[in-house]
């Protein structure tokens, strides 16, 4: 059965008939939710309000480490509200908003503004602060002042920190605050002027390329700096076989590095750029088949810790420019889970580890998100129908933008319900507000 009216936030209900999957394992159980918390997890629980989960997975809410919400500055592309709605529909109960807004989120006031906007959003909105002032890579931003507001992740994403000495200092300073620095790995001198992966396709298409080595050089450097400073580094959106191999080797040596990969880097190759459709322009760029295979293998064997969307909305007119003038980036929040289910062939617990509890740990929000579904835990949940098939239709996405590279693609697996602190923000694949 389906509920016919929205629930009040402090009402109680039971999520019935599903298979609970979390870090502890998988079991048939109903979940009773009361006052924003999980009140019971057991077989055959009853309540007058029922959320149907028959045939579905009941999992901790998904956590996105890499979301561009575009507010402030580019509200024509996305807002905290529209982006959070897209997130909720994609099964996310928390997202980390990237700081490359206009102006950048490089101080406490700017962070607070986004946190305030996020207070009424359809998912928990956390903020990543900038490492350097204005993301210019010249001077350390007030990391401590932002950490005091709860910021746990810092990055200049959109750019990598080019200056090795500055990055070393930032890591040393971050170590004392107990926060994690996340790097957009790109050696700008080597990547300069490039608009797609450098290789056979870029050569044929006459488009200046970005070699894999532009990413790999910074991965190599930051592994070295993590070793030097003893401070963790998180690698954003790894896209190449070489990057993945270096992260695997660093982990084997016991270094505290973590890594994420974006859905487009395990589903699409640079061959997609053959028609010069700017929807396929992204940074890091779509790579070759061997890179895609390496990213998939690294997701399966645990070298990569998280699937992160790099959800990057752009207004239509911005993308309707020549390939070398259009901005890079693609939507991701509403398709990531289904792409994982459709493409990766992982068991559900392994996939959910990549989408929920492992990114929650990296984001420093394990207390609220991604934890085991047990009595007393915060009710941040997603209910997934793993067998439902659907076709991606850009015009039906909740994002303000339409730049999905998956238009027309048939996917298996759909989010049915999303519960945020006990509030069903998505019911039967419809946002409730």
């Amino acid at each position: 059965m389906s509920p016919s009216q929205p629930f009040a936030i402090d009402s109680a209900y039971v999520i019935k008939g599903g298979t609970v999957v979390d870090a502890t394992g998988s079991r048939q159980a109903d979940v009773l939710v009361k006052k924003g918390r999980i009140a019971a997890v057991d077989k055959a629980l009853d309540h007058k309000h029922v959320i149907d989960a028959a045939g579905c997975i009941v999992a901790p809410g998904l956590v996105d480490l890499h979301t561009h919400l575009r507010e402030p500055g580019r509200e024509e592309a996305e807002t905290v509200e529209s982006g959070s709605r897209a997130a909720a529909l994609g099964g996310y109960t928390a997202v980390v908003a990237m700081p490359n807004t206009e102006p950048a989120l490089d101080n406490a006031a700017a962070v607070r503004q986004v946190l305030d906007l996020g207070a009424t959003a359809l998912c928990d909105v956390r903020v990543a602060g900038a490492i350097t002032v204005g993301r210019r890579g010249e001077q350390l931003a007030p990391l401590g002042e932002m950490a005091a507001l709860g910021v746990r992740l810092f990055t200049d994403d959109g750019n990598g920190v080019q200056d090795s000495r500055l990055m070393r200092r930032a890591l040393e300073y971050a170590g004392a605050l107990g926060v994690t620095l996340a790097q957009h790995c790109e050696d700008e001198a080597l990547a300069s002027g490039g608009h797609m992966n450098e290789g056979a396709w870029s050569s044929r298409l006459g488009v200046p390329g970005i070699p894999a080595e532009a990413e790999e050089l910074m991965v190599l450097r930051d592994i070295a700096l993590s070793r030097l400073t003893g401070t963790p580094v998180h690698f954003l959106h790894l896209s190449t076989a070489g990057s993945v191999a270096m992260v695997g080797a660093a982990k084997a040596q016991g270094l505290r590095v973590t890594a994420e990969a974006a859905p487009h880097h395990f589903t699409l190759t640079d061959a997609e750029c053959a028609g010069y459709d700017t929807v396929f322009k992204v940074n890091p760029p779509l790579r070759g088949e061997a890179d895609v295979a390496a990213v998939r293998a690294a997701l399966a064997d645990g070298t990569i810790d998280a699937i992160a969307t790099d959800h990057a909305p752009h207004a239509l007119e911005a993308k309707e420019q020549p390939f070398d003038q259009a901005p890079p980036g693609m939507l991701g929040l509403e398709t990531a889970l289904a792409l994982g289910l459709t493409e990766l062939g992982l068991d559900h617990q392994r996939l959910l580890a990549l989408l929920s509890w492992q990114p929650a740990r990296i984001a420093g929000i394990s207390g609220e998100h991604g934890g085991p579904i047990v009595e007393g835990a915060s009710a941040n949940l997603t209910v997934i129908d793993p067998a439902a098939t659907w076709v991606v239709e850009p015009e039906h996405l909740a994002s303000r933008s339409r730049n999905t590279p998956y238009a027309g693609r048939k996917l298996t697996g759909k989010v049915r319900h999303t519960i945020l602190r006990g509030e069903p923000v998505v019911l039967d694949a419809e946002a409730q507000r």
Binding site: G199, G206, E320
Partner: protein, 307 residues
């Protein structure tokens, strides 16, 4: 064929068809009144985002000889400067009721994007480093005037292949017609990957020249020496320029080509450009007839051609 975006849109048969039609239009061009009514009532727009007086004049002359109406969309005075998107610009032009857009743009792929947005035929008159199909067609035609066929000919393309739309289209056209193509360049001026290119590659021009049937010199842009692609133009000339001394290595009947405009004294010595082996002015002359053939193929009904 709806558009001419790439040489690949034609294939070997399509190239042959254009070259056959070009023969008829060379004949038309030689008449006292070099004009046929083949495209009367058709409207062609020149959409040149990048200056190229030579290519535009060649297309313009071709269109006039076919009796087409032409309009020039002047990019510098238009709303393009006001931040209008490429798509808006193109859709505005199409709303005026046009049959073809001839597009030149500094960015690779723009003609492909435009062809997705409009119903009119799109002709690629050069897109970034990518392609320049009518140049390749006129190059094939020019070679065929000297030799019966391109089949089995050894063609050396020399110079800045990496940044050259002419080179990309020529490789496709020459190899489609059976020529053996060798690229000769310093590695910094080659595309990063030649996977899938049916060509040989060398940096040794002296080894290639004695066996070459055709030497095709690419324009060497002066900026390249500021991008650390070359130490200097002087060194480029010393190693890859067709100097007077090097030209002596050529077979007597070898053909020397260049897409223009030439940097005399850089990629080609002034005296070499004036040798009887050089067909550079024929290339320009053939450009008009080849472009007549292309426009006719895209826009003509087939009935109006009075040859």
């Amino acid at each position: 064929m709806k558009h001419l975006l790439s040489v690949n849109d034609l294939g070997a048969d399509g190239i042959e068809e254009v070259l056959r039609l070009t023969d008829s239009f060379v004949e038309v061009s030689a008449r006292s009144i070099p004009k046929v009514p083949a495209l009367r009532g058709k409207t062609i727009v020149w959409l040149f985002y990048e200056d190229s007086t030579r290519t535009r004049l060649s297309f313009e002359t071709a269109a006039k000889r076919l009796s087409a109406d032409t309009m020039n969309f002047s990019v510098s005075t238009s709303s393009v400067k006001k931040g209008e998107s490429l798509r808006d610009t193109v859709e505005t032009i199409e709303a005026m009721g046009i049959d073809a857009l001839v597009v030149r743009h500094a960015s690779a792929g723009v003609p492909w994007q435009i062809s997705q947005w409009v119903d009119a035929a799109v002709v690629n008159a050069g897109d970034g480093w990518h392609e320049h199909p009518t140049q390749a067609l006129l190059d094939c035609y020019t070679i065929r005037q000297r030799r019966q066929s391109l089949h089995g000919l050894r063609i050396a393309i020399v110079g800045d292949v990496k940044h050259s739309r002419v080179a990309r289209s020529d490789v496709l056209a020459f190899t489609a017609l059976g020529a053996e193509v060798t690229l000769v360049a310093p590695p910094t001026l080659l595309p990063p990957s030649l996977e899938g290119w049916p060509v040989d590659v060398t940096s040794d021009l002296d080894a290639v020249l004695p066996k070459a049937d055709v030497v095709y010199l690419l324009r060497m842009q002066k900026e390249r020496q500021h991008e650390s692609l070359l130490p200097s133009l002087r060194e480029y000339t010393a190693l890859w320029g067709l100097t007077r001394d090097r030209a002596r290595l050529l077979a007597d009947d070898a053909i020397v080509m260049h897409p223009g405009p030439m940097n005399r004294g850089v990629e080609i010595a002034a005296e070499v450009a004036d040798l009887p082996n050089a067909v550079i002015t024929q290339q320009v002359a053939n450009g008009v007839a080849v472009r007549m053939a292309v426009l006719y193929l895209l826009l003509g009904s087939g009935a109006e051609l009075v040859a």
